[in-house]
């Protein structure tokens, strides 16, 4: 009887997610290469998704990056839970192999700009007063002297000069004319079936850092900053954060089949790559995994940002706990995240879906090779998402099966972005699916707990406050968060910060450490609303 009661209780507690993309008007399929088989690796890695408020109307809009055969698409949030497509009028007309997207107000004009990575020339879309976007990559110095396979990206102010710089990950050197075809060499096979070749066997490339020189001009500082030093990594997802709390933004890069990278910002315009020694390059057995996406949050409430990374099938997801000062330990197994080994994970993010004040975790999946469907195994090209509920105390419960049809729908998912499209305290998830319309995961029934969303605006710091670190104290607990560009898998989540407050009736204190080091404290905020905080001028 008690067991039955417990079961009923847990069912009642479970959040139910559904896919509302059709109802919301997100109906267009996003092309990404072959459906039943793929000839080249470029068909497997796209593409990202973004939630941004491009017209500053207070509601998150949707941007979806497209693979070859289509244009990336922009949808405007009408404020009533639905979206209108505005792709053409906003100026997005380019076809090409789009990969990643990241957002930031690089010109500090108050409107969020977009950077979209491609196999080929990248695009810097300058937001013209929320009306349309203009690709100014060429005149901004963001062109490259050869075709590159750009993947993850993030705006960051690495030198704290108030202007957003730009990091771009590069996967490998890809040329369809010289790349072997499926089955042509040992790197073009998976479980005895011929599949597209790589990344192993294909030449490495190097990552890029562009410094914002002002007046809309960027300069490639990859060499002088030592970003270009690591040379044997297949780089995909980019995650920024001040992992050692020294006031300078560091860069973590999830790498495929090679050790992941952690560029520690030395504060003098240079970085040193320290992933191995800091414990975030490999898994607990010292093995390089196939890292795809990465997310960060202080999941255990100790004040330090931790790192989660999605990996390939037959590998565990990886949760690295920050032991303080940017030294990490692989705690995947102890945290309850080691059991889902059949999935190829891509987009991921921490979000507090029940507003209990503890960061939960969602990752989206789908095998790289459509051909695996022929194997009749338990690994699938189209697969479901995984939702973990943070039970506090450093542990997660896999609640996927009890969390509604939206979680269990099968897609070959890649990018995932997180944000509250209704401003009602419940965080939605936008997922870019290969050769299908996107998924919009919405929770049916809103969480009962309190919440707050903070929208930060820098004045001395960059306008979008990217890199700002926030401590929210409510109900006797302090949570931390950081404003980030990029992240997840080649995606952009809401630049505002969402915090669940549990039953706390108010926020006692918000402490903001702005990029550059200025600290600002705001007290006694009312919950269940979006609150704007603008950087006050220094005395």
């Amino acid at each position: 009887m008690r067991a039955l009661a417990a079961l009923v209780f847990s069912v009642v507690l479970a959040a139910q997610f559904e896919n509302t993309s059709r109802r919301a008007g997100l109906i267009h399929s996003i092309p990404n290469g072959g459906v039943d088989s793929k000839r080249f690796i470029i068909e497997t890695t796209g593409s990202g998704a973004a939630f941004i408020d491009y017209d500053n109307d207070g509601f998150l809009d949707v941007f979806l990056v497209s693979g070859g055969g289509g244009t990336s698409r922009l949808y405007h949030n009408n404020g009533k839970g639905a979206f209108d497509e505005v792709t053409a009028q906003a100026g997005f007309t380019r076809d090409g192999w789009g990969q990643g997207v990241c957002a930031g107000d690089f010109d500090n004009d108050g409107f969020t700009d977009l950077f979209v990575t491609y196999w080929g020339r990248n695009a810097l879309y300058r937001n013209r007063a929320g009306k349309f976007f203009e690709d100014i990559a060429a005149r901004s110095g963001l062109t490259q002297n050869r075709i590159r396979y750009n993947t993850g990206c993030a705006f960051l102010d690495y030198d704290n000069d108030g202007r957003l710089d730009l990091f771009v990950a590069n996967y490998l050197k890809f040329d369809p004319a010289t790349t072997p075809k499926p089955g042509e060499n040992p790197y073009c096979w998976y479980r005895n079936i011929p599949v597209n070749c790589g990344p192993r066997g294909l030449p490495f490339d190097r990552n890029i850092l562009y410094r914002n020189e002002g007046a809309g001009v960027f300069r490639d500082v990859s060499e002088e900053s030592r970003i270009a030093k690591p040379s044997q990594h297949y780089a995909l997802g980019v995650l920024t954060g001040d992992f050692n709390d020294d006031g300078f933004t560091d860069i973590y890069v999830a790498c495929d089949q090679t050790p992941s990278l952690l560029y520690m910002n030395r504060g003098d315009g240079t970085f040193s790559e320290e992933a191995l020694l800091r414990g975030v390059a490999l898994d607990e057995n010292g093995k390089a995994l196939s890292g795809m996406g990465a997310a960060s949050a202080d999941y255990d409430g100790d004040g330090w940002p931790d790192i989660f990374r999605t990996n390939f099938s037959d590998e565990r997801e990886t949760l690295y706990r920050n032991l303080a000062k940017g030294e990490f330990e692989d705690v995947t197994r102890g945290a309850g995240l080691s059991r889902n080994t059949r999935f190829v994970g891509w987009g991921c993010g921490f979000f507090d879906f029940d507003n209990d004040g503890w960061q939960d975790l969602l990752l989206v999946n789908g095998h790289a090779f459509p051909e695996v469907e022929k194997l009749k195994l338990d690994i699938r090209y189209k697969d479901r998402a995984i939702l973990y509920r943070n039970t506090a105390g450093g542990k997660f419960d896999d609640v996927s099966d009890a969390s509604g049809p939206g979680i269990l729908e099968r897609h070959s998912a890649r990018g995932a972005a997180f944000g509250d499209i209704h401003n009602d305290g419940s965080v939605e998830v936008l997922i870019n699916n290969q050769n299908e319309p996107p998924t919009l995961l919405e929770r049916a029934g809103k969480p009962r707990n309190n919440w707050i969303i903070l929208k930060l605006t820098g004045s001395r710091a960059n306008r979008g406050a990217i890199g700002a670190r926030v401590k929210v104290t409510a109900g006797g607990r302090t949570q931390t968060g950081e404003v980030r560009s990029g992240g997840s898998y080649l995606s952009q989540s809401d630049l505002r910060l969402h915090f669940g407050l549990g039953s706390a009736p108010k926020v006692d204190e918000v402490e903001v450490r702005w990029p550059g080091g200025a600290t600002q404290i705001v007290r006694n905020l009312r919950p269940n609303r979006v609150t704007a905080i603008t950087e006050t001028a220094r005395p």
Partner: protein, 335 residues
Amino acid sequence: MRAISRAFTGLTAVCAFGQDVGTGVEQFHKGQYAAARQTLERALKDSPGDAHSTTFLALSRAATGGCKEAAPALAAQFNSGAGDLRRLAGVGLAQCHLAGSRFDEAYPVIQKLEEQNPADADVLYLSAKLHMRAWNGAVYRMFQKTPASYRVNQLSAEILEIQGKYAEAAAEYRKAISKNPAAVNLHYRLGRALLMESHAPEALDAARKEFEAELALNPSDAAAEYQVGQILAAKENDTEAAVHFARASELAPDFPEALVALSKLRAGDEAVALLERAVRLQPANEAARYSLMLAYRKAGRAADALRQKEELDKLQKPPEGEFTEFLKKLGEKPK
């Protein structure tokens, strides 16, 4: 005849010689073996004893079905010649032996070729072919002479594993077990196949039963103990897992993986000591080095951690390592 001709296609040599010899070598490389034979016989009359003429004539004869006639010259060149000519003669001689199914004679030639040319694709191909032919012959004899033996099922299962057909492999292992319940290693291999077949949590329990059955047959099987420990660790039952890892390392004191696994369930100096022992046992073990580096770091021994990092950097795995990983997945027990 066609088969042996084809076998010589692609053999290349760069050398300078007289007109007839040059023409004969060119004809050989173009696969015009009969013409090469005539040209080289003529060249040899003009310059008796010329090494190039002798060797390429022998190769041409071999390529046109005259292995018996060619063998003495090829053997002579292989045993006392030098450079590429020697390599070509060895390859030709080995191909002749293989074509005649004379594996005993082919083996020493190929072994010597491998010693002299360790990264030569032609030589490695021949070596693989020799072993494949020998393996095929043994399998054929086994299936023909002992078709009802449990070994036939065991071998079938191992082949199915290589093909990635784990469900079928498991079925064959089960047949083998039913025929010979006392045979060791079958339950172990079945447990591995079950783990490879499915990622479902139930597969862990099913595999654990097999590893425990293996231990019932052979209580000193350290690898089976280790696998039980791994399953318990995956299920977050650290206390019991540690017992099995400890037993595995007692049964096989030279089993660094067991020490590494045990170290993850221990703390402080005890973990460091286990890992130092693992590294001493196998200095090239990346898992041991990595874990030791992190254990030193955690213990505040920054300089020691840095030293381990430097060693790890040296161990950066070459792509070939993936094939070792592949073999490990097939269930080979640690040597």
